[in-house]
Every structure is written in C-alpha cells, then in structure tokens.
C-alpha cells in the first residue's frame, strides 16, 4: 500500500481515520464503560452504527461500479439481499430445535408449509464457512451470468440500468412466493445464535460492529488500490470513452464484468453483515426503490470518490433515523427537499462541496466524464 498516495488526499485520510476510530472506539466503549457512564454506547446506538456501516459498504460497492466503471446499476440491492439471505439461511439453521415447532431440521416456515425435507439449496448452510462462501458466491455468480450476457451484447446506458431494475424486481417477486422456500413475505427472522454466541448479547453486537468496520476499511483500501492500479485506470477510461478504449484493443466487456462481479460480492458481504445486526431479512430488500436509494446515497455523497459514497450513505441514513423520530409526519418533505437541493446546489455531492473548500483545484478523480 502506497502510504504517500494515501496521505495526499486529506479528506480520504480523515474518512479512513474516522472509520477506524468508530470501529474501535464504539465497541470498546460499549464493553468497557458501565451502562450509566456518559461514554457508554447503548446497544441501540451500536446496532444503528453497525447498520450505517453496512450501508456504507453497500454504497461503496455501487460507487465502484457506477462511479468508476460508469455502469448505473439500479439493482445493487439484489446482491445485497442475496448476501443477506445466505447469512440468514445460516442463522436459521442455527436455531435448531428452538423454533416454534421444535423441528431440528426444518425452519418453522417449512414445517408450516407441510414440507417434509430440506430443499437442496438449503444444504450446507449449517456450516459457517460454506455460508460465508455463498455470501460472496451467490451474488457473484448472479452478477457474472447477468454481466456476461449484458456486456457481451453491449447493453449500455439506460437499457442496462432498467434491466438491472428488472432483475431485482423479478427477484423480489420470486422471493415473495412462499413456494420458493425462503420464508415468503416474512423472510427469515427470529435468529438465536451466530457461531454459538447469542446474537442479542452486547458483546456479539460489538464484535459485529467491529467486523463491519474492519470490512469497510478493508474494502475501502482495496477499492482505492484497485482504482489506482492499471485495471482501475482502464475501467475509468471505459467510463469516459468506451469505444476509444475498445479501439485501443482492450476487451472492454471483461473489464466491466470484473468490476461488476467485484461490486456484487462487496454488496453481498454488506448484506451478510447487515442481517445479524438488524435481525431480519425479507424480500422487501429486493424492492427497486431500495436499490434506487443506494444510488441516491452515492449521488448525495459524491460519486467517483469512494469515500463520498460512505459519507453519503451514513448521512442520508442518519437523517432518516433522526427525522422519522423527530417529525414522523413531515420527514419525507425534508428528505425529498434535500435530494432536490443537493442535485441543484451540489453537483458533485457533499464531497464536491468539501473539496471546493479545501482544495480549489479539481482532482483527477473528480473530472469524470458524463455517464452514458
């Protein structure tokens, strides 16, 4: 890792440091200080921050594919949800006989549907390692097949965006079906243990937050390294002038596919970290509106900067948390208004605003061309 390179961008470094401090300090404070201490973070805050960080990871994954490769994916939520379901399936299998009907083999909803044996696609999910593999493989494989088809036939622009939306919409409808064997509308919930530890205990929460934070930092460093590598440069070039890159002899579709699959796996990881912290995964995560929201986080934060996506995801979700409690009847006005104002007044998102303050000169990454 090129440290010199890192410190060149102050915003980047401070985001990284803030993340590191949150990741380490909050679990630490939560566990060390007693509950009545001013420095104590409640379980509520811990799981809330954990949720924000998973969203940040999800935003980061979209920024890779949208901000750098110029592919506007309106179905990133599908990969997130798939990762979440893989994790959820593991957690369901851990319930064992503690379910409502006390069936050691089958989750409650299958007993309820009169199923007698576990469907084949649930095999292996009692194993944590296998489940974690599936967290990456399930979204990765879907992205690979989908991307391989789409990029090979040169589907671009809005056409690609809309068929990714069709993809997540089709998955939404499919997962709603009870016959699919994923719990229908209720999804997977009522989890008990993860790796033998009680999922509701403070310590597990803190560890989950720590894991999320570490994954996010790791992903940020990895993404940063990728975009600054030769591969990243080619991908950025494809975003700006696809046909020119193709004429130069690069296999454009392979580069795009690579980034697309990588981003899908990151999203899957985010989903897997999200599920144990919120305690439920259900088909509404596949809804096209959710995927749209991810785009909005990235746009609000500032696209094509990596940390912008993180800032955007955290800020928008924090605003949602506060506003839904403070003004339950009018928060949509504020959120809707904020989106309009951000687009009109801050074309490069919050990061663009910060950057104009800190550094008048535009950086290399900010001068992205227009997306298709």
């Amino acid at each position: 890792m090129n440290l010199q390179n890192l410190t060149q961008d102050k915003t980047y470094a401070s985001v990284l440091l803030a993340l590191a401090s949150v990741t380490i300090l909050i679990p630490f404070c939560n566990l060390i200080f007693p509950e009545d201490s001013a420095l104590h973070f409640s379980a509520y805050s811990v799981s809330l921050i954990g949720k924000y960080l998973t969203f940040a990871l999800l935003g980061l994954s979209l920024d890779m594919v949208w901000g750098y490769a110029g592919i506007l994916v309106l179905g990133q939520g599908a990969f997130f949800a798939l990762g979440g379901y893989a994790m959820g399936m593991y957690l369901m299998r851990q319930i064992g006989t503690r379910g409502v009907y006390g069936n050691a083999e089958l989750p409650d909803f299958m007993v309820f549907l009169n199923w007698t044996e576990l469907p084949w696609y649930w095999y292996g999910f009692e194993n944590f390692g296998f489940s974690m593999l599936m967290v990456l493989l399930a979204p990765g494989l879907l992205a690979f097949v989908f991307g391989w088809l789409a990029f090979r036939s040169r589907v671009t622009g809005v056409y690609l965006s809309i068929i990714t939306q069709a993809l997540t919409y089709a998955l939404l409808l499919a997962f709603f079906r009870n016959e699919m064997g994923f719990g229908g509308n209720n999804g997977l919930t009522d989890f008990k243990d993860i790796l033998g530890f009680n999922i509701q205990s403070e310590a597990v929460r803190s560890v989950l937050l720590l894991m999320t934070g570490l994954s996010l930092i790791g992903a940020l460093l990895l993404c940063r390294w990728i975009v600054n590598s030769k591969l990243g440069r080619v991908v950025t070039a494809i975003r700006d002038q696809e046909s020119r890159v193709r004429f130069l002899g690069y296999r454009v579709e392979l580069f795009k596919l690579w980034v697309f699959v990588f981003a899908a796996m990151l999203a899957g990881l985010a989903g897997a970290l999200y599920v144990p912290q919120v305690g439920i995964i259900n088909p509404s995560e596949f809804s096209p509106l959710n995927s749209l929201e991810i785009v909005i986080w990235v746009a609000v934060g500032g696209r094509g900067t990596l940390y912008g996506a993180i800032i955007g995801a955290v800020l928008v979700n924090y605003a949602k948390t506060v506003l839904t409690g403070l003004m339950p009847d009018a928060w949509l006005f504020c959120l809707g208004g904020a989106f309009i104002l951000v687009t009109l007044l801050m074309p490069d998102g919050i990061v663009g605003l910060l950057r104009r303050r800190i550094k008048p000169k535009p950086t290399l990454n900010a001068t992205g061309g227009q997306p298709a």
Partner: protein, 619 residues
C-alpha cells in the same frame, strides 16, 4: 370452539298507540257497510286490507324457529298519516277488492309492517306475500334498489329519491307524492342476500307481462337463475302469448333444460341435441350431471344412449368454450396492455424523447387520479360528466405541475441525466407526502359511472367488462392524439428537432428552453390523463404512482427509448404475454417470466424492439 347460536335481531315493536278515533272510525264504518254487500269472504279480505293500509295493524304470529318478543302478538300501531293519501288509497284498494284479488297470501301479518320493522326472516315472508300482487311491483323494485325508507315519525313506508337536502318521498303503492323530508327523518330498509335473491325472483315474475320487451327478457333471465315449479308454470303460460323472438328463445332454453330430465326419452334426446348448439352454462351443468358417476362408481344416468349423447354434446360445447376463452384471454391481455401503455406513454416522452429519468412520473399519474376524485366531489350528481371533465382537468393539473418541475429543477440539469433521477426522486417523495397531508393517507373513493360498470355479456362464456373496454379505446385515442401532436403540429416538429440535436435546433431559432418546458408539460399531462383511467380500475391513494413506475420504465425500454410506436407495441405484447402465461404459471410467476423475458430480449436487441436509428442513437 364455542357454540354459536343464531341470535335473532328483533326490534321491539312500537307500543300500542291510542287510536285516532274520529276520521278512521267513520271511514271504517263506511267501508264495512260497503263490504257487507260483497259477501262474507270478500269482506274478510277487505277488512284485512283496510287494517293493513289505514290502521297498520300488526298481528304477528310467532314465527317458527324465532323467539318473538312478548308483546308483539296482537299489538296494533295506528298510523297517523294525512287524509288525502288515504282517500287515494281507498280507491286503489277498492279496485283491488273488486277484482277479488287478495293482496295477502295468508293471514299471518301485515307485510308492510313486517317489512318496515321485522327481522330479516320476517321480511322474507313479507316479500313473498307482496309478490303475489303486481300492484306491489314498484314497492318491491324500490326495496331492491335500496330506495324504500321508513318514515320514522309516521311509522310507514315510502319510496325516497335523494335530493340535495334529504329525500323526496312518494307512496310505495299509489305513487302519490309525500313531500320532502330531511335525512334523519327516514331510515332505509336494509336487505340481505337472501332477500335480494327473493326479490329478484319476485320482481321477475311480476315483470313477465311488462310492456317493454327488454324488461320482459330481464324477467325471464332472473327467473331462469333458480327455476322452481311455479316459475316453470308461469314461463310455460307466458310462452303462448309472447311475440318477441329473443324472449321466446330464452324461455325455450329454460324449458329445454328441464326436458333433459323428463321421463320421455325422445324429449330428452331432442333436448340434448338442441342444447349442444347453445352457449349456456346451465346446459353444461345439466349435461355434466348426466355423465357423472356416483360414489360406488356407477353412472348416475342409467341410459347409455343419453349418456353418450350428453358426452358428445359436452365435447362440442367445450370446444366452443375454449375458443371463447382464447378471445377472453386476448381481451384481458389487451386491456392490461392498455393500462401499461397509458402509464408508459407519458414517460415515453419525458424519458424517451427528452432523456430525463423521471422518477416522479408515477406521482403525476397520481395527481391525475386525485383530480378525478376532486371533480367527482365538485359534481356529486353527475359522475359521468365529472369523469369526462376530469380528462382535460387532469391534463392541465399534471401538465402545470410538470412545467413547474421542469422550470424549477430539471432545466438546470440538462446534460446530466442521472442527476435528474435524483432530483425527480426527491420530487416524487415530496408529492407523495403532499398528497398524504392534503387528502389524508387513506385511499379516496372514485365512483364508476353507470355506463362504465358492468359488462357486455355476449353469452354465458364470454363477456367483456365495459370499463376495460373503454380504457382500451381511450388508450388508443390518447396514443393517436399524441402521435398527431408530434407529427403535425409546430410544437411536435420543434420537440423532435430539439430531441435530435439541441444545438442545431437552437441555431435554427427554436426557443429550446420553451420547447423543453412544453415537452415536459405534455408528457406530464399525458401521465395525468393516464391517472384518470387508473382511477377507474385501482386505488386512488398516495401509493398509486409507485405501483406503476417500474412497469412504465420496462415498457418504454422494451419498446425502444424514443419511439412512441415501440411503447405501444411493447405495452400490448407484454400485457398479452402476461395474460397468456397467467393460467399456467399463476399471476406471480407469469410476471417473473415476463421480466426474465425482457432481460433476455434486451441481450438480443440491446436497444429495444424499435431502436432509434441515425446519429441520435449514439448519444
């Protein structure tokens, strides 16, 4: 489980009221003197009649199975209504008596009183009694239409027509006007399903001799729904003096259905061979019954000739049924397609022509639907007119909002299409919440005018619903109008020019920013118009737009961005594909399959069904 017993709901009858002596008694004596001359039997009837109309005597016998409350036996309530009506009624009753046609079938109670304050099962008795006399037809019809009221103060029945302030009342038998009353002064006579069935049959029987052949046909059809011996006899009688061919055919088919089970074999054979040419569900059911086996595996029908005939007839009818089912599926598909096209066509302009990813498109449709609601609130008595008027109004409202969005937000974002997504998403949240605040988060009720409800019943196996039919036509009209605007008007020319090459268009002196606003307004207005159509088939609520936005984008992209004709073809073909798949795969799987099909289709044709050609395609 608890044991649940039927609990009869009896209202306490009004207490004994002191008889209003002078006028009634004199009338009574007058009437009795006349009746002495007509003999003892008529006199009894006459007296009952008299009590019924003038004194409202209640003589309730305990009804089997019901526990009548104490005090209801022999209680009499005396009516205090005005004189004039009574005199009118005297004539009527006298006429009835002269014809020696008893109004009352039995002596158990006064049907009008039972109707007014009896329990549901008592009302059934009352209807059966009233059905014996055609003079009661108007009353029964009013009862069925929910226009029969109890005048609370006077404890009598009246037919009420709703007016601005209350009800204008007429007497149910004579038709004489009883003046106007306020809403609170009357209570509607409620019905239940049993009563409605009974009424339908009773009215049918009474209307069999109506002057209007259409009414007679309706009567025959109503009677055919559950035929009993009495109805059969009536129909047979009627057949002899019926001139209208359609009605004769209807009666014949009812009789033929009965012939299937007649003891005479040749009659049966004749019935089956005739019926196999009929598109009648009843015929299918009857024939089906002939071919069934009982629990022991033996045929219900012993005669194998009849059985084979019935089977052959069934095959023939089923063949026709399949053809009708295919027509029906195509119609369902087209009407679903029409809804999709309507929802997408505005987007085909804002998104397809202008390149704005307009996430607020659904909310503009929602505004159109709410405009329909408001129009109906303004014109509560002319629902049809309100609906027609809401078409231009919805266009105007949505177009103005659209222009405001364009001028206020989108014009700063040209050349940055993805940012329009963000901003219009904000607008859509804003509009949804605004509607929630103004109209409440509840759904609003938009009524369907009579000419749009019901269906066009071609035969028992094929009927097309009117509202879908009108929406299909409406969709084609809107599409044609839009195409004409784009092809033949100056605005259309400018829109196309700006879409193809903005810079060049400006150089040619086209006021591009004004054209942008007009184009966005046009697309939004069309969305509003689509909202009017949607208000007729689905919920009018804050979530209306979100339900259609994804589908709209699919249709536009599938058809090819920037091609209106493509949107039309895409909408209809997706609609039909959906409906063809639905019977095999179920509603959800059909939709998933269609989505997968779109994804695969785009791989094959990356720019939709009708890709744009030329330079504009490469932008």
């Amino acid at each position: 489980m608890q044991s649940q017993r039927f609990r009869t709901r009896l209202k306490t009858p009004p207490g004994l009221r002191p008889a209003d002596r002078s006028p009634k008694n004199s009338l009574l004596s007058m009437m009795t003197t006349t009746s002495t001359q007509t003999g003892i039997e008529t006199r009894g009837v006459f007296k009952r009649l008299f009590e019924l109309v003038f004194l409202n005597t209640v003589r309730r016998e305990p009804v089997a199975g019901l526990s009548a409350q104490p005090g209801s036996n022999g209680t009499s309530a005396v009516d205090r209504s005005g004189w004039l009506i009574r005199i009118g009624l005297v004539l009527l009753i006298a006429a009835a008596a002269m014809a020696a046609r008893p109004v009352l079938a039995d002596e158990t109670g006064n049907p009008l009183d039972l109707l007014r304050q009896g329990s549901m099962s008592e009302r059934e008795q009352a209807v059966e009694q009233l059905a014996a006399d055609s003079a009661n037809l108007k009353l029964l019809q009013a009862l069925q239409d929910g226009k029969l009221f109890e005048l609370k103060a006077e404890a009598k029945l009246a037919i009420g027509l709703e007016t601005q302030t209350g009800y204008s009342l007429t007497d149910p038998i004579s038709g004489a006007s009883l003046g106007e009353v306020e809403r609170g002064a009357v209570g509607k006579i409620n019905l239940n399903n049993k009563l409605r069935t009974l009424l339908r049959k009773a009215i049918g029987q009474l209307q069999l001799n109506h002057a209007d052949p259409a009414v007679r046909l309706g009567a025959v059809q109503a009677m055919a729904k559950n035929v009993d011996d009495k109805a059969l006899a009536l129909l047979k009688d009627h057949l002899d003096h019926e001139a209208d061919a359609e009605i004769v055919a209807a009666i014949r088919s009812v009789l033929l259905l009965q012939d299937i089970n007649s003891p005479d074999k040749s009659q049966r054979v004749n019935a089956i061979t005739t019926l196999k040419e009929f598109d009648s569900q009843d015929a299918v059911n009857k024939l089906q019954a002939l071919t069934e086996k009982d629990a022991d595996g033996n045929f219900v029908e012993a005669d194998s000739d009849i059985r084979n005939l019935a089977e052959a007839a069934l095959i023939k009818i089923r063949g026709r049924m399949q053809a009708y089912a295919a027509i029906e599926t195509v119609f369902f598909g087209l009407s679903l397609g029409a809804v999709l096209v309507l929802a997408a066509i505005g987007l085909a302009i804002t998104f397809g022509v202008m390149g704005i990813i307009n996430m607020a498109h659904g909310e503009l449709m929602m505004l159109g639907a709410y405009t329909t609601y408001v129009m109906q609130q303004l014109l509560p008595n002319n629902l049809g007119t309100a609906l027609i008027l809401s078409i231009p109004m919805a266009f105007l409202v949505a177009a103005l909002v659209g222009i405001a969005i364009e001028r206020g937000i989108i014009r700063f974002l040209y050349g940055r299409p993805l940012e329009t997504l963000l901003a219009t998403f904000g607008v859509s949240l804003f509009l949804q919440q605004a509607v929630r605040s103004i109209f409440s988060p509840l759904n609003r009720s938009v009524a369907t005018p009579d000419w749009m409800s019901g269906s066009w019943q071609i035969n028992d196996f094929l009927s097309l619903t009117w509202n879908r039919f009108y929406i299909l036509i409406f969709c084609l009209l809107v599409f044609t109008a839009l195409l004409q605007i784009l092809k033949r008007t100056k605005l259309g020319l400018e829109v196309r020019a700006v879409a193809q090459n903005r810079g060049m268009a400006r150089a040619m002196g086209i006021p591009t920013s004004r054209v942008d606003a007009m184009t966005f307004g046009l697309g939004s207005g069309i969305a509003g118009v689509a909202g009017v159509a949607l208000s007729q088939i689905t919920n009018v609520g804050p979530n209306l737009g979100q339900a259609y936005i994804v589908d709209s984008f699919m249709v536009v992209v599938f058809g090819g961005v920037g091609n209106l004709f493509g949107t039309l073809v895409a909408g209809f073909s997706l609609g039909i594909a959906n409906k063809v798949l639905e019977p095999y795969a179920g509603a959800v799987l059909a939709k998933i399959l269609v989505l997968v099909f779109i994804i695969l289709f785009i791989q094959k044709k990356p720019r939709g069904l009708f890709p744009q050609k030329g330079r504009a395609a490469e932008s």
